[in-house]
Symmetry: C2
Subunit: 437 residues, 2 copies
C-alpha cells in the first residue's frame, strides 16, 4: 500500500478522522500550534446535520448546510486535508490504512460520529430511509416527490393513500422536526402541486418507543411539541415500537398496523466505529470507550471524541448524549490537551456543559430550553432560527438560508421540490463513500 | 398498456412533450383557453440551461436554475403535468406511448429540445462530458473536484498536470462561458484550496473547429472574447477539430495532442427526436421538418418547435439557430395558432426576430450585441447579468442567484465546491430519465 503523500515535518503529526462538529473544533483549536494536522473525511465538506431535514423537505439545497472543508481551513498552516475512507487502524504500529494509502500518526483522533442503527433488522434497513447524510436527505426528497407523482397514476384509493402516507419512526429532534415539516408540506404546498390528489387523505405518523417525544427536554416542552404536531395533522404514537416494515406495512408491538410507502427511520444511532481495536474497547452502541481526557483505553496517543466516544462522567455514567455540543466541547478541550501533553503536562479532564436543547415543529412553533428557562411558540421559534443561523459556517450560507426561510415564511412555500437524481431503492445510499474516479 | 389517468374533458386535448423554453411559453399562451393541456417531461422541473455552466463550476446550486413545473402552473385550470418519458408516438392513431402509459391527443406538440451530438464517436461519448442537463453539470463539478483531490496523490509531475488539465471542445456560448469560469477558478479559487499543488501548471484549452468563437456574434465580439479568455490564461485553438479522446489524450486534425483527464464536449447538438415518424420527416441534425406554422410535414395536428424543429425561413433556409429565443417565440405563436385552428381560422406563419446575443467570460468581461449595438467589458457584463437575472423563473431564484453572484464578485469565490454525489465514469448520466420507484 502506498503512503499518502503528506510532507514530513519536524513536528508531531495529528491525524483526525472525520470533519464533523468535533473534528472541526479540534482543527480550529490547533491553529498555529506546533502540530502537523491531517484531516481525513469521506466527503470534501462538513455537514450541518441539524438542518438535514430541511434539505429532505425541499426547503434548502445542500450548499446551505454543507461547507467545503478546504475552504474553512484555507488560511491554516501545517494543515492537510485528504478525501479518504479509512479502512482500519493499527494502534500498535501507529498507522492508518485508507482507500488512498497508508499514513503514520503521532496522535490519532477518531471523530467519525454516528450512523443509523437498524438494530440488525434487514428489512427495516432495506425499506426504511435513514437521514444522516446529505445524499440521504436528497434521496428522501426525491422519493417523496416521486411517490406523489406515482400516486396520480394509481386508481385504487387505498393504495393511492398508502403511496402518499409518511411514517417517521423515532421521536427525537430529527423525527419531530421532520414530522412538523411534512405537516407543513401537506398543509400548504402539496395541495397546490397536486390538485388532482386529495392530499387531505395523506397521513403522517410519528412513532416513538418511549413515553415522550424529545427525551432531552422537559415533560412540558414534550407535551407542547405533541400539541403542535397534532395541529399540523400529525398522528403521534407514544410507547409504540415499530417491529417491522416491508416497504408497505408498518408493524408495531401494540398490534397497530399502518400502510405507508414512505418510512423514515430516525429511531436509533450507533457509534460509527473503526476497525482495529479489540472488542473490549467498544460498548454496545458501537462507541469506543474513552477516559475523561478522550483517550482510548490503553493508549496515550489515540483519542476518540463526540458521538463515536463513550465517556463516563458523574452525571452521564453511560456516556454523553450523542449531540453536537458534546463533540464541539470535547474537540475544543482536546486541542488544549494535545498541547499540554506535548509539553509533558497532564491533560485536563472533560466536563460537559449542557447549554440546553431545542426543536422546531413549524412556523411560530418551537420549544426551547436554555439553562433553566423554557420557551415555546413564536419567540422560541425565533431563538431556534437565530441559533441555527449563527451556527452555520460562513456568511454566504447564512444569507442563502435566511433568504430561503424568509421566502418560505411569507409564501407558505418550499421552493426546492426538485427530483434531481431520482431515487432508486436498489441503489440506496446507506453509507456514502467519496470515491476517486 | 394502461391509459394515463387524465380527466376526459369536453375540449380538445393538447399534449406537449417537454417543459423547456418552448413548451413553457406554449402552456402560458394557452392559459384560460378552451383546451385541456397535458405537459409531459422526464424531469419535474424546467432547466434554465444558459446558467448550467455555473452549476458545473461551483457557482450555483441546481435550485437556482431549475424550477418545479407544477409550481409554475399551479393556478392554471385544465392543466395537467405528468412525469413521464415518451417512448414513441403513433401519428395516425393520435396516441403517444410513455413509460407510465398511453395517452390520446387531439393536438400534439413536440418540444423535446436538443441533445449532445458526439457524431457517432463512441470513445468521445464515453470519455467526453456533455453539459446539457442539471445532473451532467453536477457530474462535471464532482469530476473536476475529484480530479484535484486525486492530483494530490500523484507523484509524477506530468500525470499530475494532466489530471488537472481541462479541455473544452466547442467555441459556442457554452464553451466560451465554461472556459472563462474555469479560468477564474484557476486564478482565484483553486490555489487557495490546493496550496500543495502548483495550480499554475494547470492548463485550460478551448478548441473550436471553425475560424472564430461565438459564431452568432460579430468578428469584433469574437476577437474580444479571445482576448478576455487569454487574460484568464485559457489557450484558445481556432480552426482545430478534435478527432478523438481516450480519457487521457486529446487528438486533433492539426497534429496537436493535449494531455488532459477532463474534457467537456460542447461541440455539437442535435434534435432530441422522437420515435414514430418516417425518416423523411427528420433532417440530418435529427430535427423534425416543420412548415412555417410549426406543423410537422403531412400532419395538421402535430407540431414541433424549438431546437427539435427545423423550419426553413427566408433568412434561415437551413433552419433557425438552436437557441432559447426561437423556441419561446414559436411557443408564443403556436398558442395563438392553436386557438385560430380551433376556430377554423388560418394559422399565422412564424418569423424569427433575432434580438441579439451575448456571452460572459469573467468578472467585468462580457460581449453583448443587441440590434445593431455592440458592447463589451464591464457594461456588457452588467447587461448580461441583468438579462439572465430577469429571465430566471421566480423571485426566490432571482434572489438566490443574486446573493451568490454578489458573494462571488466581492470574494473572488465560488462557494459550492461540494462533491455531493461522486462521479463514476461507468455510471455516466448520458440522458437522465426520471424513473418512478
Amino acid at each position: 500500500m502506498q503512503n499518502i503523500d503528506v510532507p514530513e515535518m519536524n513536528m508531531p503529526r495529528v491525524v483526525i478522522i472525520g470533519g464533523g462538529f468535533g473534528g472541526l473544533q479540534l482543527v480550529k483549536g490547533l491553529k498555529n500550534k506546533d502540530f502537523q494536522v491531517v484531516l481525513l473525511d469521506r466527503n470534501n465538506y462538513h455537514t450541518f446535520q441539524p438542518l438535514l431535514y430541511q434539505v429532505a423537505t425541499a426547503g434548502l439545497e445542500p450548499d446551505s448546510i454543507a461547507f467545503p472543508i478546504r475552504k474553512i481551513f484555507k488560511k491554516y498552516k501545517n494543515f492537510h486535508f485528504r478525501l479518504a475512507e479509512v479502512e482500519r487502524i493499527d494502534p500498535e504500529l501507529k498507522k492508518i490504512y485508507t482507500n488512498i494509502g497508508q499514513l503514520h500518526f503521532d496522535y490519532l483522533v477518531i471523530a467519525t460520529g454516528s450512523k443509523t442503527n437498524f438494530f440488525g433488522n434487514d428489512t427495516l434497513r432495506e425499506f426504511g430511509m435513514p437521514l444522516k447524510t446529505v445524499t440521504q436527505a436528497l434521496d428522501l426528497r426525491s422519493m417523496m416527490l416521486q411517490n406523489f407523482e406515482k400516486a396520480l397514476l394509481i386508481p385504487d384509493l387505498t393504495e393511492r393513500e398508502s403511496t402518499m402516507n409518511f411514517v417517521i419512526v423515532g421521536g427525537g429532534p430529527t423525527g419531530v422536526e421532520l414530522a412538523g415539516a411534512m405537516g407543513e408540506l401537506k398543509k400548504h404546498v402539496l395541495p397546490n402541486d397536486y390538485p388532482e390528489l386529495d392530499v387531505r387523505r395523506m397521513q403522517i405518523h410519528l412513532i416513538e418507543a418511549g413515553p415522550k417525544l424529545l427525551p432531552g427536554l422537559s415533560k412540558d416542552s414534550s407535551n407542547k411539541s405533541v400539541e403542535y404536531l397534532k395541529k399540523l395533522g400529525v398522528h403521534v404514537w407514544l410507547d409504540t415500537m415499530v417491529t417491522n416494515y416491508n416497504g408497505q406495512t408498518v408493524s408495531t408491538n401494540v398490534g397497530k398496523k399502518l400502510q405507508a410507502k414512505n418510512l423514515v427511520w430516525s429511531a436509533g444511532v450507533m457509534g460509527n466505529g473503526i476497525e482495529g481495536f479489540s472488542i473490549d474497547k467498544i460498548d454496545r452502541a458501537g462507541r469506543i470507550n474513552v477516559n475523561r481526557c478522550n483517550q482510548v483505553e490503553g493508549y496515550k496517543d489515540i483519542f476518540a471524541l463526540g458521538d463515536v466516544a463513550c465517556m463516563s462522567e458523574e452525571n452521564y455514567p453511560k456516556g454523553h448524549p450523542m449531540v453536537a455540543p458534546v463533540a464541539m466541547q470535547q474537540g475544543e478541550l482536546l486541542a488544549k490537551n494535545l498541547v499540554r501533553l506535548e509539553a509533558h503536562k497532564e491533560a485536563k479532564p472533560f466536563t460537559y456543559i449542557d447549554k440546553g436543547s431545542m426543536a422546531t415543529i413549524g412556523r411560530n412553533k418551537a420549544v426551547v430550553e436554555i439553562a433553566k428557562m423554557k420557551w415555546n411558540g413564536a419567540f422560541a421559534w425565533f431563538i431556534w432560527m437565530f441559533v441555527h443561523l449563527i451556527s452555520l459556517v460562513g456568511f454566504r450560507n447564512k444569507t442563502i438560508v435566511l433568504v430561503n426561510w424568509l421566502w418560505n415564511y411569507f409564501n407558505y412555500d418550499r421552493g426546492i421540490r426538485l427530483i434531481i437524481r431520482p431515487f432508486k431503492r436498489n441503489k440506496k445510499d446507506e453509507e456514502p463513500a467519496a470515491t476517486l474516479i
